[in-house]
Amino acid sequence: MSMFLEAFTWLADSAAWMGATSIGHRLGQHLIITMIVVGIAAAIALPVGIAIGHTGRGRGFVIAAAGAARAVPTLGLLTILALAMGIGITAPIVALIVLAVPPLLAGTYAGIENVERTTIDAARAAGMNEFQIIVHVELPLAAHVILGGFRSATLQVIATATLAAYVSDSGLGRYIFAGLKSRDYPQMLAGALLVAALAILIDLGLSVLQRMVRRSVEPRMPRPRSRVAGPSLKGAS
């Protein structure tokens, strides 16, 4: 436990907050990389996911892509791209995009596909064209599921951006690798705690957002009915 104290001491030390390797700088890098990557991945995955969800074609492709993305080790992808493209930020960014696209794609496609067929039929019968159906019916109803995909993609990117510090001088992962190399455990633990805190905060924020969006579509969330449980069986005739 004393190691945690030392880690907090390291965090509180003003030296850690100054210069080109300061916590603020590294945190900013981590966030900017995450935003760029998720932005580019979304620009790719959203249109494709909408097209697949709307037409129902290419479903097998999404499922295969999501499965394959899980099996590919992120560290392997990072190192192979770094070997091919050289040390620097380009290789990690490409790797991160490759990893962020499948969850976004799966979320978008699943969200659109889960919209009630009868609702879409009704919209079509009311005279909406395909574009209007997507914008006014499918996207609003699918928003919370799409956000779910966005949430897991973002967390995936934050995690992998930490590993990216292994092949480039960027992000909060640097503290972990620097600490590992020089056996500077307080620095290493402080870096780990920073990443963990960042991930938890962003996850909480996105989950709140997701719930708000969901409430806007399903205002009355039915309370879960009590389930059959041993002696307290309910049910009148």
């Binding site: 002696p231 069986l233 309910k234 049910g235 009148a236 005739s237």
Partner: protein, 270 residues
């Protein structure tokens, strides 16, 4: 003998399912509890094997308060059939029938022999023994449900709207088979239904319930048809339906029974 003594039961939310219900159900007879939804008939049934506990009052089996029995042992000693058989989807037909014997640590081999016998008794082909419930028709599942309830040779059979989910023709077959089984086995049977015709067909005695488990009328089916106690019962049994009011005319030397609308219902046996 199953006795209800001033049994009341209300559910969270305040809905009163049963209020002050008292009645003694005779042994080796079929009692049909009939009423519309909200009449508390299923609630009454479930208090017998302690799937529900009464709020107040007592349920007794052969003079003993059911609360004196171990809940699990009590349930194993009472046959229970529910809608669609209530079979376990991951067990074969034979395994489903053997459920209670196996729980009671009868050897699987022995239980299987009993299961195959019961399969025959309920009129099912032995080739079905190793199928899963999803591979059976609704009527077949229902028969397996009855076989399972009989497997531990219980004295009491509780039937909770067992034939509600099958089509009318199959239901008719199942009802007739149950009558045949009961005439051989003579179990103490409680049969819950909302179908008055089913109650009149199967019950040695019929209890017509109004809401809150209050008894509107009790008696043998013929008595209920002949003398409905009040307007509620008259209405419930459809006393004014044309097919309930029959008259006899003589045609070709035979006595033919016609309903009120003049449609023939059958011929009197001579």
């Amino acid at each position: 003998m199953i006795e209800f003594r001033a049994v009341s039961k209300s559910f969270s939310g305040g809905a009163v399912a049963v209020e002050e219900f008292s009645y003694v159900l005779p042994s080796h007879r079929t009692v049909a509890l009939v009423g519309s939804s909200g009449s508390g008939k299923t609630t009454l049934l479930r208090m017998v094997n302690r799937m529900l506990e009464p709020g107040s009052g007592t349920v007794l089996i052969d003079g003993r308060d059911v609360r004196e029995f171990n809940k699990v042992a009590l349930r194993r000693s009472i046959g229970y059939v529910m809608q669609d058989g209530g079979l376990l989807p991951h067990r074969t037909v034979a395994e489903n029938i053997s459920t209670v014997p196996v729980l009671n640590r009868v050897s699987r081999k022995e239980a299987r022999v009993t299961a195959l016998e019961l399969l025959e008794q309920v009129g099912l082909d032995l080739t079905l023994a190793d199928r899963y419930p999803a591979q059976l028709s609704g009527g077949q599942r229902q028969r397996v449900g009855v076989a399972r309830a009989l497997a531990a040779d219980p004295n009491i059979l509780l039937m909770d709207e067992p034939f509600g989910a099958v089509d009318p023709i199959v239901r008719r077959e199942l009802q007739n088979q149950l009558l045949a089984l009961q005439s051989r086995l003579g179990k103490t049977m409680v049969f819950v239904t909302h179908d008055i015709d089913e109650a009149l067909l199967l019950g040695d005695e019929v209890i017509v319930l109004r809401s809150g488990g209050r008894i509107a009328q009790v008696g043998p089916p013929a008595e209920i048809l002949a003398a409905p106690a009040d307007a509620f019962v008259r209405d419930f049994i459809g006393a004014d339906r044309p097919e309930r009011v029959l008259r006899i005319v003589e045609t070709q030397g035979r006595k033919v029974v016609l309903d009120q609308a003049g449609r023939p219902a059958g011929v009197l046996a001579s």
